[in-house]
Each structure stands twice: as C-alpha cells, then as structure tokens.
Symmetry: D2
Subunit: 428 residues, 4 copies
C-alpha cells in the first residue's frame, strides 16, 4: 500500500471499503478487456515504460483505471485526474491510489477550483508523457508550464473533439510536442465511436426514462462516426431515424442509408427523441424548442454540454423540475414539457445511471493508448511536434491481439497473392 | 386522502414523501401513455365500472399504477398486490393508496408469508373481476375461495405463461369463469412481447454489466414472440444471434431469418450471452454450464426463474460472489466464472436497475386490459367460463386510439374495395 | 414417352429441344428443392395417390412442374393448365407432357378462348382432386361441372387471394367439397409470402430497371405478409420504406417497426417506387398519379392486375411508350413520366425477366401441397365441405423435412419440460 | 449524323434500329442520372472541354454512354472502346457513334486481336486526357505510345483495382502524368462500391438462379468497400453472412458487425453462396472446392476473373455443363455439382442478364469523372505526375448537386459554429 498523498482518500468516510469496491469494479471490467489483459503480461515482463512519468486527465472509472494500472505495471509513474467533474468514481480513484506507482487526484463533484487544482497537481509530477481525453493536459502544459515541454516525449489524445482542437493548435504552429490522435484510428472510430457511443447512449436513455425506441422518431444531430453509431443502433431498435448534417457528403451518405435527412428546423417538429453528436455548439436552439412536441427527450452524445442550448431553453421555460432522476423537465408557456437528460452533458457518462462506454470498446481504445505510450518511449524521437496518426502497425497489432483473444481466425495472403497485389503488369 | 388500511404506509418511514415520489413516477409514465390518457377521459365521464370490485395481482410500479388508477377512475373499487415479491415500488404502492377507491397491499421484499397474506387480503374485498399477471389471483380464488366464483363476472390475464396455464386449467374443466387472454392479442404479442421484452431486456443487461452486444454471440432460448424480440433487437445491436428451439416451424423461421439455429448442447459452448425466453424450465442446465466460456452472462426474460437451472449451477460452483450489483459470479472448478444476472429472474423486472417494460408498450397492453374489464362489466354474460380471446373490435379500438394519439393517419376501404374483398365471382 | 394429346407440342417448332430445355430447368429447380426431393422418394415407394385424378390450374414453370411430377410419381393422373395466360413456360409444359401420367394443356400467350378451353380440357379428365392457384378450378367445377363434385375428395389452394375468395364462397354456403387453405399455414405465409414475394419482387424490379433501392422512398401498399416481406427486404437494401394500410393494427405494427405510415394520398407525392401487395383493387388511382414525382416506378406484387388502376393512368396520359423492356412509360400532360412495370401484373411472375418465387420457398409451399393431397386421399372423408386449415402435423412434417435437409438441428422437450408446460399447479 | 469510321456499325445488321434502341437505353438511364443531367446543362453552356481529345476504355453501355456524351457535349472529341470484351452493348455503341464528337470502337464479343486493335485505334486519336476502368489506356500509352505523354494533361481511373495498380506503377516511378483516383473518393467508395456492387451483384445472382438468400450461408470473400456492400445487402435479405479477410482490422470490423469471420478453409464447407470481392487472385481454390456442399453457387464481384480459380475447378471436375443460362455446373467425382455464375467474371457485368451497377450510383461516380476531367483541363498544370486523390471540393460539389436533385435539404454552419470548430481555446 502506498502512502502518497491521495485527496480522494481524505475525502472518503471509509476508504478501505471504497478501495475494495473500486477493485471489484476494475476486476469486472478486466474480465472483459482481453487486450489490456494480454498487454499487461508483456508490460509486466518487459517494463517498457520504466523511468517515465505520465500525466493523465481522463474519466476516472473502472475501465480507464485498468489502462492506468497497465501503464504503471509497465514501469511508469502515473498521475491522473478527471477530465469531467462528474465522471469520477471515488471508489475507483481510491483503488488506483493503492498502486504504488499511481497517484489519482480525481474526486467526484468537486468545484471548479478543486478541479483545476487537481490538474495542476498532476502536472507537478513533471510528466514525460501526457494522456488526454479532451486535450486539457496538453493545453495546461502549453499555457502554464512551457518549461516542461522539453522533457516531454509526447502525448496521446482519446477524443474526436480533443483531436480537432489539437489539429487547430497544430495548424497555428503552437503544438510543441508530438501527440498521437488515438481517436482517428480505424479501430477507435469504428468500435469506440460507432459501437460504444451508439449502444451505451441508447441504453442509458432507455434506462433513465423507461421509454422505448420502437416507432419513435429519433433525430440524430450529426452523422460522423458517433452519429452513425447512434443512428444505426436506434434503427436496430426500430426507431425511425432522422439525421441532420452540415456536410453534404455525410448528408448524402445518411440519405443513401435510407434515413430521413432534414434541416434541424424541420426535424425539430418531427422528433420524439433528439441525440446530438456533432462536437459543435447550438445544434438545438430556441427556434427548435418552440416547435417541439410535448414530452420529447433531449440528450447529448457529443463531448461538451453546448450542443443543446440550455440557456435558450431556460429562457423560454415557465417552470422546470426533476421529472425523474436524471431528467429535467422544462415547461413551456403553452404547457408542453421538454425533457433534458443528464443536463445536456455527454449522456453515457453524465446520467445518474451512466456507465460510460461498454467495457469491450474501451479495451480496444485503451489498448491503442497503451501501445502509443510504449511507442513514444521507444521511438519518440522519430516524431516531430504536431498531431500524428497512430502508426498503422500499432493499430494492427491491437486488432490482432483482440482477434486472437476472441478466437476469431482469418486468412493471410499467400506469396502469390502478395505478388499479385503488388504488380501492375497483369492485363485483363 | 383515503383512510383505508395500507400496509406499505405502515412500512414506510416517510409515507408522504414516498407518495409524492410515487406520484411523480406515475406522472412520468402517464405522459408517455396516450392510450390510458384517452381512456381515462371516457372512464371519468361514463364511470363504466361503477359498483365493481377488482382484485389484481400485478407488478406494482408506475405503469401498472396508471392502469389501476384508470380502473378506479372508471368507478371500480380496486384492491391490488404484487405478483412478484421483488417488483413492487413502495412509493408507487403508497401513491396508489392515496386514491379513495384503491387499496394496495404490495410491499417490496416481503417474505413468503406476508406475500401470501397480501393475496388473501386482496381477495377479502369480494372481487367481481380479477386481473392477473401470472394467474395467481385466479388460482387462489379457485383453490381457496370457490364461494366467490358465482359473483365474479370474469378476469383478464396479462402474460404468456399465465395464459398457458389457464388454458391447461380450462382443458381440465376447472376454470369456472371467463378470462380474457390479453397476452394473445396481436397488439400484446407484437408490441409488448417483441418490442417491450426485447428492448428492455437488452438495455437492462447492458446497464447492469456495462458490456456491449456488438460482435457477441447472443444465444436466445426460444423463438416465440419474446424470443423474436430479443433476437431482433440483439441483431440490431450487431450481435451474432444463435437461436435454440423445440418447435420445428419456429426453428425454421429463425433459420430463414438468417440466425444460427443450434441445439443448446452446441450453443452452450458458443455463446457470450444467454437469454432464455421459453416459459419452460431447465433450458440451461448442468451439461451446458460445463462447456461455457469464461465470463459468459446468463439472463432470463421468461416469466419464472426456472429457465436457467441455478441449482445445477450452484452444485457445480466452487465459489460464488457478487461480481457487480445485480450480477452473481459462479466460479467453476476450472476457474471459469459464469455470471448470472438478477438471480435468473425476469431480467427486465428483477435486476436492481430494472424498470420493467417500456412505458409505451405497457400503455398498449394496459389499454387492452382496461377495455377488457369494461367488456366484462358490459357484456360479461355473453362469455362462458373458460379462456377467451380478446374480441377483435376491442383490440382494434385500442390500436385506433394509439394511432390517433401518435398522429399516424392511414387509409380506409372504399365501398368498391370492400365489395371487391367480399366477392368471389371476380375472374382472372 | 407418352402419346397423349399435347397442345404445347402442336404449338412448338421443335418440341424435342423444348422438352430438353424444360427438363434442364426442372433439374435446376429440383437441386434446390430438398423437400420435394425427399417426398419423391417416399411417393415413388408408396404410391399413395394411385387411382386419383388431379386437376390443376397453376403457373406452369419449372418449380411447379416438380410438384406436378411428384404427384404423378405418387401414382396420380395429373392434368394441368396455367392460371395466368402469361406465366407458362412452353418448354416446361412440353417436358411435363413427356411423363406418362401427366397432360399439360398450358401454352404461353394464348387468347382468352384458348385459355378457357384448356381449363375445360383439364376438367374433362374427371378429377378426384383439384389444386389451384387462384381458385379457378374450384370455380369452374362448381359453376359448370357440378356433376363432378360428388366424386371429388377435395382440393388445395395456393394463394391468399384464392383462399379469401374461397372463404367468401364458403360463407355463402356454396363451397361443396373440402379445400385446404395452403396459403394460411405458418410455413406458407412466412416463407413464401415474406421471403419469396419480398426478395423476388425487388430483384425483378431491380433487374428490369437497372435501378437501386438505396435512399429511395419505397411505398408498400398493404402490410399483410407480402407487404411485410417487401417492406423488410426493401429496408434491407437501404430504402426508406413508407407503408399504407387500411387495418389499424397492421398500420400500428408497421409504425412500431420504424416505417413511415401514411395514407396513399400523402405517400403518392413522396414515393420513388410503389409496390402494391393488398389483394384489393384501386390502391393507386387517378388522384395519386396526379401528384407523383417524375420517373416513379409502379409495380404490383398482389395477385391481380387491379391494384394500380391503369385505366385511370391511361386516361390521364398524353402519350405512352415502352421505356425499356418490361416498363411502359405514361407521359403526363405536365411532362412527368410514370413507369409501370409488367403492366401492373404480379411483377415477380409477369415481368419479361421474371422467374416467379425463389425455388426454395416454392419447395416449402409445394411440399405442403403434396402432403395435403396425400391427406385428402388418405383421410378425405374426415373433412366436411368448406375451407380447412392445413392440419398442424402436416405443416410440421414439412418443416421437419426441410430442417433435416438443411442440416439444422434443434432441441426437443424433455419429459419434465413437457410436464411443466402442461401443468398449471406450479406457483411463483 | 457523323460519318466517321464506326466498327460497330459495320458489324450490325440494322444499325439504325440499333441506334434507336441504344438511345432509348441511354434515355432511361439519363432519367435517373440527375447529376449528369445537371452537369450537362453547364457543360453545354460553358464548353469547358473544347479542344481536348479524350481516350476512354470503359464498359460501353447506357450509363457510361451518358458520361461519354456529357464529355462530348462539353466540347471534347471522345474516342472510346470497351474495357472488357463482353460488356459492350452494340446498340449503345452505335448510338454513341451518332454523336459527331464521339467515335466508339467497342463491339461485343470480339476476339483478343480485335479487342486490342480497338485500343490502338482509340490511342490513334492523340488523346490529351485518358479515362480508364482498369488502367488499360494508361498502360497502353505508357508502354507503346510514350511519345504521346507530353501532350496528355492527365487521366482519371474508375476502379479499385485500377487505382491499386496505378499506385504500384507510381511507386515504381513509372507513371508519367497525373491520374485522379476516382475510386478512392468517399462518394465513389460508399455509393458505388457499397450500394452499387452490393445491390446489383445480389440481384443478378438472384435473377440468374431463381434462388433466394433468406437463411443461406453467404460467404463474402474480402471486407473492403465492395465486400461490405455485399455483406450488408445479403444480411438485409436475411442471409447468414460469413466473411473471410486477410487484414486483421477489417476482420475485426466484420466480427464487430455481427458477422461470422472464418478462414476460407472453414468457410468453404459452410457456404451456400460464395461471392468474392477481394481484387486478388485464388481466393477460392482446389482445397475449398473439395469440401463444398452440393449445389453451391460461386460468383465474383471483384474486377478480374482470377478470384475463383476455375483452372483448379476444371481439373477436379469429371463433367461440366450449362445448368442454366449464365450458370456452369462442374460435377465433382463424388457427384457434387458446384455452380459457377458468369464464368467467374464480375457478376453484375458479365452474367447474361447483367446490367452493371445501378444507374444512380453510376451517376454519382460519373459525375466525379466529369468534374475531374474538367479539373484536368482547367488546372491540370497544378498536378504532378502520379496518382492524385480527387480534390475535396470536387467531390463535395457532386454531393451538393445530388442532394439538390433529390430535394434533400441539410443544415449549414453558423458563423458561431464555424468559429467554435476552429478554436481550441475553449475549456471544458
């Protein structure tokens, strides 16, 4: 048992019980994380991260905790805090602190000051690597601790939104160390965004509201990977899916898939359930609230709570009350009630019953994180400052581990086939 | 506020707060129950059930409570208790007791003695009508209160299993009043069983385990209406569905749908998740547990907790522990852990986070219940003792109410079309 | 080689080559008809139809021909003609005539007089059993050959429409021998109607037009079994499905499936492709043509060519021309062109490239026909005059044969399970 | 009417009737090609291709013909021949020759010598631009007419296979002018490959065989865009899809979609239908044929006829015969018959009833071709020799035209939203 400083332990009435509970949650997750399980064996054997200090700002819950522990088992000292004040599980935070190489500063529900204090405390460990879910750690280091940058070999970023903002920063010439865009790998996009966000968002909404999707008009704001997942899984529950988009090729793609594509101005009056996935702000605003049906559900599956404009909604409302745990009803002057789930925050993380992404998809995503961190240690000098795609062979390595763990066999190219693919001399 | 006896009120520390909470739950449900809302208006105006006494044994939660209140608003005196010791919401039970025509005896988690006492207390109201979810009330009256039968105009039964047992009783010549087989209506089977059981079982499993269905082998035991729903919704979440059946036409139907059809002896080794829906016992037994993969999930979506044979499982296990809230892990001698969800009871009702069927499908099902009760009062003499299908026009009436409430318009036959359908003289 | 009268042989330039070609078509079909293959072995061995005369009016093509030959191999004398002047394959008709127990009167494209002459010629064989696809043979016998009725043991009817008309006839007390409603079996409805009509109608339309369904609004007229099949398969090709219905429960079922449900008055302006499946007349009429988009496709998958009102369309049109083989374009005064496929006749039979239902589904359907005919011979006296459902054990027998042929294994009930299902004493 | 040399006119008995028939086919296609229709208006007005000579080797049928005519209407002189000896429609070839700016050398079914003569005849026009479907024209110019390269501004390539080979050529430093990889655009891959190949391959197989996909094991070789389309559409017809792959991420993607993933060695014994889409050779070979079921169907949806190894099959076979038009049966020593569709050539082009890709998807693909050719004329100097992705704005332009033509409206970013997306300063 480590004796390092541990704010969550200070905070908890019965830290020992919390640790056990946190550990039980981590064990459940690990049972369904074959990739991390496999990597742990090699990390424990090879200690590839020996001597590194990793600063993390991620959702502190059971699945992430297994990544944190894997990195620590690989030899690194890890300091972590949450990337969202409401997503921390204190028991998991406590369980992490029990590992001698890990300090978790995350405490659920802290105020802004404590939230940022924790960030600073993490950076005080003098990291050589940053791992982010929303680029908060990269931003803090660049803005307030530029002196650390020289000793940082690189970083890894988990989310679409974070990568988007990192690319903007990079385009401005202000990103001063290499960061792997974990979000942009085929593995991450297809499995985490499509399957993970899709399934968990819908299950969270269903279990928060006790409502069904069959026969409902489900308006999906945005048809990126998350939007595709939400749309596909909602259609798989027999919803009638309506997509809104701003990019014509994505709009066309949704149209060709058989979904209705409408501007939000029209979709607003049709929808029974609205789920935003754009990564942008003001997807649903005042003029939309004004035409919505009584009893609609409003939820956000994008990173920040700006997609559904709650200020507009609050301004329109004559009353608001908790209609159900996790559901705030806004009563309109004409008596309609619009129901906002999880305060418009990322629904599969912020709803009271939310559990985040499914374990298996985080296993894939975190498997890539782990091999990216290993790559930074082993070959960090090969990468210039800026956003980098995850090297193809790392992404492929993780897929191979997963398939082997699931017992899925597949073919390999014969020498003749490889030659055929490489040649261009062959005629018709 | 009524002053009638109310066991749940005795039982609760703060009955007033509970009543408010129960009422809030009922209001949420009613917002999404357009059929009951519509019927309530006519029931309040016409009081069609005036003078009747209705004995109910159903799951006492928010949705059912709106049916109970509708029947009371129609003029009946209603006495109710739970049909499952674990499905009662005490706050809803308390809220029901606030209605002057309603007495609820349901209290969550009571022991067997208290459970059956509550049944007897309900019957002590001298019912003229019974409404069941599993035929417990019909059974009790027939076995222990035969003297009441003469004054009972009839009953209504909600479930597949209950109807099945009533038909057996009827075949034995022992059913002594008419009972509507609400379960067997097209409305009930397609919407409640397929959509309701399907969606809520999967969402409950997902939110109890934090696992995903994508790429999983989901073994569905039984391909009746519930099984079809579970299979369809699981495939809609990108599961690889395996069906087991004993009836060749259903097996063939599943095969033609594109699912794998296997005997359970073979499916046992393939499955990642098992969901039983047969209404029968011993669907999964010792020889199946012996070949299952490590970490499988076992859940039941059929009425009783006999589908997964937990005695067999317990006998095999060297250890068992709560792996997660709502999940009991059974450790096999070879180290495999088999995870049983909600103790093998009806998963969408008995899991700790379970909410039962979605509100909208219960609205349809309870709408039929309500018009069936009305029919018994108005035309009960037309029905002989025995199980009766719900008259077609009642079922149709409820569909019409629902479509109108959803704003769905449809066509009607012209005189010429009606004539065409009726004629057989028309040649090629 | 038989020397009986054979109109198609008279008609053909090279009957021998035609016979070979017809036989090759029959062989291809038989390779994919495991049920008929299996039954043929037992029919040849047992000769259960010895001494019977079977009068048939069915589509004379390769699949039906294998049923005809099976009945003949079972010992019956079979006389057959077409049930649609355009669906006969002359080469198959010729190949059938080569069997000593079979006389086929079917010739493609004959005029009305020759068509009805062929019907009379079939009846002249003094049938003891009739097998129909549209009840033409039953009708002819009742109207013009009542003297034959006493020696007829019964009949079998293939189609929804035929059964509908037989039931009307039965209700009028005019059906004078027993007829099996083959169409109404679960096997027939689910496999033939849903899968057969669904897949073959869409493939025929695709290959007649070279158009795609992805992103198209496909309006399905009617949501019976055929409509469900067309809707499901169209959605499976990424069409946006719109359903029209006159029955509220079916309308609700389509709505809950996630389809748009609209009156045809509104659907008419939305659709890109219209497929009628109602079995009724005037599903699409003048007011609908007036609001349709330029370039729409109109097709019928119901039995008769009355669903799309072509008289109305012709009246509106300023010009019409063959836009493509199998497609007649009707030009509206405003320049829009509405494209009618296969003259509004049953599209999967009447289009120039049409092949009828897929072989495998006809195998199931004809398997039931064959065991129904066997049942009439063996137990015909048990059935009163009127329409009869196919006895459950026959339907089940065919499913068992099919599953065995496909190598699909399934479970059977244990004695304990059977007892459990039969008992009603079991408590909660 | 032009009087230029026209081999197909020489070849045809009645060229005038052929021209009319070809024109009718082109008109049908154009009615469903809104993108080309829209572009034609601007091309006729602006004549952007004036003075260019375009050499094309593509499938000469109605859809392509509308692209050819569009390019000619844009001012170019176009010379074309087929890229496959069997895909030419002589009537369309004749109709094209009627345009004064077009010379078509394509004649169906010519021998190798005539086929290559036609290629040379096209190059003899001294092209400034090449447009290929399989890089034959690029190859011919580079190998035999290097003197033309200096005056060629660039090319465009339609297919996956062609692009693959061009990239190999480029990597070898041997590609001497810029070529747009039309195949690699999102528009082309998603719509043409997924929807086009998927729907048309399955419809062609269904209508060639009269068989159904419901309940069949459909083995899809390769899970690239074409494979995804075939798998998705086959599942949408209720097939049980089995995927084979050599790339672990694609294999995992298919697995997570819910499909079975197997090595071909195992899939071979399971499949009822095999469809290869890999672009590689020897996907199905001797050891696979040896274990296949009796009656299986073998088809290829990849570019060349090397995916199913017919030499191996022929070697194993004791007999072969035409089982049905477009289907060659190979009889194995043990009596099994394996059915090869369309000689293992690209099934949706080479089967006797094949129509190629659906009109609408070719409209999208050819729309990109047209704007790429326009781009080469307008900005060809901006592109170095080598393979180039289609510039994003061209791809987007075509999507916008399509959405406008379909009447699909979508949203646009507000200034605030654009700013939000561009900024990285925003905190949590």
């Amino acid at each position: 048992m480590s004796d390092h400083y541990s704010p969550v332990v200070e905070h908890l009435a019965d830290p020992e019980t919390a640790r056990e509970e946190g550990r039980r949650k981590m064990d459940w997750a690990l049972q369904h994380m074959p990739i991390l399980s496999e990597l742990r064996e090699s990390f424990l054997a090879d200690r590839p991260l020996e001597g590194e200090v990793i600063a993390m700002a991620m959702h502190v819950e059971a699945k992430t905790a297994n990544l944190v522990e894997l990195l620590a088992d690989g030899g690194a000292e890890v300091a972590i805090t949450g990337c969202n004040p409401l997503s921390t599980h204190d028991d998991v935070s406590a369980a992490l602190n029990a590992h001698e190489n890990i300090t978790s500063y995350a405490v659920r529900g802290v105020d802004d000051e404590a939230y940022y204090d924790a960030m600073h405390a993490v950076v005080a460990h003098d990291p050589t690597i940053t791992v982010d879910d929303g680029m908060d750690m990269v931003k803090l280091v660049h803005e307030e601790y530029p002196e650390l940058i020289d000793s940082i070999v690189g970083g890894a970023e988990e989310t679409t939104t974070g990568v988007h903002r990192l690319r903007a920063m990079d385009a401005d010439g202000e990103l001063r160390y290499p960061v792997f865009a974990v979000n942009d790998t085929p593995m991450k996009r297809l499995f985490d965004n499509v399957h993970g966000t899709g399934e968990s968002s819908l299950a969270t909404i269903a279990m928060t509201t006790n409502l069904s999707f069959a026969g409902k008009n489900v308006v999906v704001g945005g048809y990126g990977y998350c939007g595709k997942g939400v749309a596909k899984k909602a259609a798989g529950q027999n919803a009638n899916v309506i997509v809104t988009e701003v990019e014509p090729r994505r709009a066309l793609e949704a149209h060709m898939e058989g979904y209705d594509v409408l501007p939000m101005d029209e979709a607003a009056a049709e929808g029974d359930v609205f789920i935003t996935t754009t990564g942008n702000r003001d997807v649903i605003t005042k003029e939309h609230f004004e035409v919505m049906k009584d009893g609609v559900l409003l939820a956000n599956a994008g990173h920040f709570d700006v997609e559904v404009n709650l200020e507009d909604l609050d301004e329109l409302a004559v009353d608001r009350f908790e209609a159900r745990e996790g559901v705030e009803a806004y009563e309109m002057p004409d008596g309609r009630e619009l129901n906002v789930i999880a305060e418009g925050r990322l629904v599969n993380l912020a709803a009271p019953i939310a559990l985040g992404h499914p374990v298996e998809v985080m296993d894939q995503s975190f498997g890539i994180q782990a091999v990216c961190v290993r790559e930074l240690v082993e070959n960090g000098d090969d990468y210039e400052a800026g956003v980098h795609d995850v090297p193809d062979d790392l992404d492929r390595e993780v897929a191979e581990i997963k398939l082997a763990a699931e017992g899925v066999e597949y073919d390999s190219l014969s020498a003749e086939q490889r030659e055929y693919m490489d040649s261009w001399e062959h005629g018709t």
